[in-house]
């Protein structure tokens, strides 16, 4: 029986700007079990990073959680104080940020940066912490002789390994990866993903993987949630969602992704831009770009379709027209 580690319940994170509020995350719900990995996929600006930053409460100053709950091991963490939060961060949930190049402080030695959370959260001496750093370096297959170097002496892949070592430092229960491999070239990307997979199996950690790259999801995630304009539009087992997608946006996303084995053909693109999240349209947020609508007023006018498990197989979709895949 798997146990729920993280649950997001109708999370709403808005950004206050001069004009009003940008509803970057507008009612996102999902659960993540212990040891499980969930992929959060969507175009840039769809709210996936904001969702992640809401979980560790590191939103920029204009950002505010305006509704919903975030339950970690059954405890609501949305109203935690700064002190409680600084114990929670990294010890329970650590994060691998996008941009391997800039996530390490250029003027501090790598070992000190990896040791920093250990010294902060665990009552150890500096020497013990350094021992642990050594172990972590071995774990992520980095040369321990390089521990005392500075970040700029590392290649992109090595830096990302160091960042993963840092993320593992305090045995977190959940790791959030925000586009952890985007800045790397393809070969290194594959190595890092293998490493993440291997370590996750070894250490039985949960993982929330944020990316726009569906191939990463199919490699690393048990479950996937597709986000569009601040909402989850489809969610389920990775295989099921990717092979049997129900939401038109997911279908477009999959077909927009070139397959190197398939015949050469024009890559499908989605015309138009995502809606303005300052005044989102009343109905389905995808309706304007959806090829299925074709005169169906229901999509444009009614409320945004709720995320419902119509099939009973744990495959959720938020679409008024999900039953009519033939129209596609």
């Amino acid at each position: 029986m798997s146990e729920v580690l993280l649950e997001l319940d109708n999370l709403k994170t808005y950004f206050t700007v001069t004009k009003g509020k940008v509803k970057a995350v507008d009612g996102v719900s999902f659960t993540l079990n212990r040891g499980e990995s969930l992929g959060l996929v969507g175009e840039s600006g769809c709210g996936k990073t904001t969702t992640a930053l809401s979980i560790i409460k590191l939103l920029p100053k204009e950002g505010q959680i305006e509704g919903g709950r975030i339950l970690f091991e059954g405890k609501d963490i949305t109203h935690q104080t700064e002190d409680e939060l600084s114990d929670f961060r990294w010890k329970q949930v650590s994060m691998i940020f996008q941009g391997a190049m800039n996530a390490l402080n250029p003027v501090k030695r790598v070992c000190d940066q990896v040791a920093e959370p250990i010294l902060l959260h665990e009552y150890t001496t500096k020497k013990q912490a350094m021992e642990r750093v050594k172990e972590l370096f071995e774990l992520v297959e980095l040369d321990t002789n390089l521990m005392y170097s500075y970040p700029h002496e590392f290649s992109g892949g090595m830096r990302q390994r160091a960042i993963i070592a840092m993320a593992l430092a305090c045995h977190p229960k959940l790791i959030i990866g925000d586009e952890p491999t985007t800045a790397l070239d393809v070969m290194v990307q594959a190595q890092i993903l293998d490493l993440i997979n291997e370590l996750r199996g070894k250490l039985n950690m949960s993982m929330l993987m944020i990316t726009h790259d569906l191939s990463i999801i199919s490699d690393t995630c048990d479950k996937v949630a597709i986000m569009y304009a601040g909402r989850i539009v489809e969610m389920g087992e990775t295989k099921e969602v990717l092979s049997n997608s129900l939401h038109p946006y997911t279908k477009k996303l999959i077909s927009a992704f070139p397959n190197i084995y398939a015949e050469r053909k024009m890559v499908d693109s989605i015309p138009g831009d995502p809606p303005d999240l300052y005044t989102p349209p009343p109905g389905c947020r995808f309706a304007k770009r959806c090829h299925m609508v074709g005169g169906k007023e229901v999509c444009q006018v009614e409320i945004h379709p709720p995320l419902i498990d119509y099939t009973g197989k744990g495959h959720y979709v938020a679409c008024h027209l999900w039953r009519n895949p033939d129209e596609y």
Binding site: T18, P60, K61, E62, G272, D273
Partner: protein, 300 residues
């Protein structure tokens, strides 16, 4: 979105985007209280400089209206200076001189800085190395000793002071313009112009120059402020033209009159306050523009 396929449409779209950007920036600028205050303050001084002498009957050139260093009276609210001139009239008149200095020095600075900076950034290579090495070498010479030396060489009349200030303060602007030119050089409209065979001077004048300016605007504004203050310091040190009543000159003569020990506050408080207010107005505006170009500086 309609497709863009003719040159005409492209130009139209570019113009539209530009207009929208200007609107956005104006919105940001006027959302900054400090900057708005700066604009109001500056407008006050500009009006005072342009119209003040017409509306106020005493000027710097009417002598012995009252006793030497006489106290303020109801008619002469800021008293008299050592030649019996009306201090208020002199201060109003001094606004012109101080603004004129600030603007003309900045003109020289921008002229030298833009020419060398754009040439350096646009041509690159040996020209760039040469210009930047010399700029670097000049920029590390402390300004005041250099100005003192130059003023000893070419003399200290009003025009000379402006020229000296201009030729000693362009290095920062030049470096900034060079770095902005380097980024603008990469943009596609410059590539496009090159592809259709536009000459170097044409590209620099028509494409680089107009696009560099918005980015160095805050630097230009702060140069005006810096020049006004540098002039006042020089005047105070006795380097300057005593016949032109800049505020710095008023402060120098106040000190020479012993105004501090005799407590003749009207000789140096009003001129100093005006100097501070005018200089701060430029600082407020300059930093206001800085926040537009550097979004990080804005309130998060």
């Amino acid at each position: 979105m309609e497709s863009i396929n003719t040159h005409e449409q492209l130009r139209k779209r570019e113009r539209e985007l530009k207009r929208q950007k200007i609107r956005n920036n104006l919105h940001l600028f006027f959302g900054n209280k400090r900057a708005v205050f700066g604009v109001l303050l500056l407008s006050f001084f500009i009006i005072m400089a342009l119209l003040g002498p017409y509306f106020y009957k005493y000027d710097h050139f009417s002598y012995y209206l009252g006793p030497r260093v006489g106290k303020p009276t109801p008619e002469f609210r800021l008293g008299f200076d050592e030649m019996g001139r009306d201090v208020l009239g002199t201060v109003i008149y001094g606004t012109r001189a101080s603004l004129a200095i600030g603007l003309s020095v900045t003109f020289i600075v921008v002229l030298i800085g833009a020419t060398l900076g754009i040439a350096s950034g646009y041509f690159g290579g040996i020209i760039d190395i040469f210009i930047m090495r010399v700029t670097e070498a000049i920029s590390i010479i402390p300004t005041i000793p250099l100005i003192l030396t130059l003023s000893a060489i070419i003399g200290q009349n009003f025009q000379n002071i402006i020229v000296i200030l201009g030729v000693t303060s362009w290095t920062g602007t030049c470096k900034l313009i060079r770095s902005q030119t380097l980024t603008i050089k990469q943009r596609n409209y410059v590539e496009r112009a090159k592809a259709i065979g536009a000459g170097n001077t044409y590209i620099m004048r028509k494409h680089i120059l107009p696009n560099v300016f918005p980015l160095i605007f805050s630097n230009i504004i702060l140069t005006v402020q810096g020049s006004i203050m540098a002039e006042s310091t020089l005047a105070f040190l006795g380097v300057g033209d005593p016949s032109i009543p800049t505020w710095g000159q008023l402060l120098r003569s106040a000190r020479e009159q012993g105004a501090i020990t005799t407590g003749s506050w009207w000789l140096f408080i009003p001129a100093g306050l005006c100097l501070v207010a005018l200089a701060s107005s430029f600082v407020f505006i300059g930093y206001g523009f800085d926040e537009i170009n550097n979004p990080k500086l804005r309130r998060r």
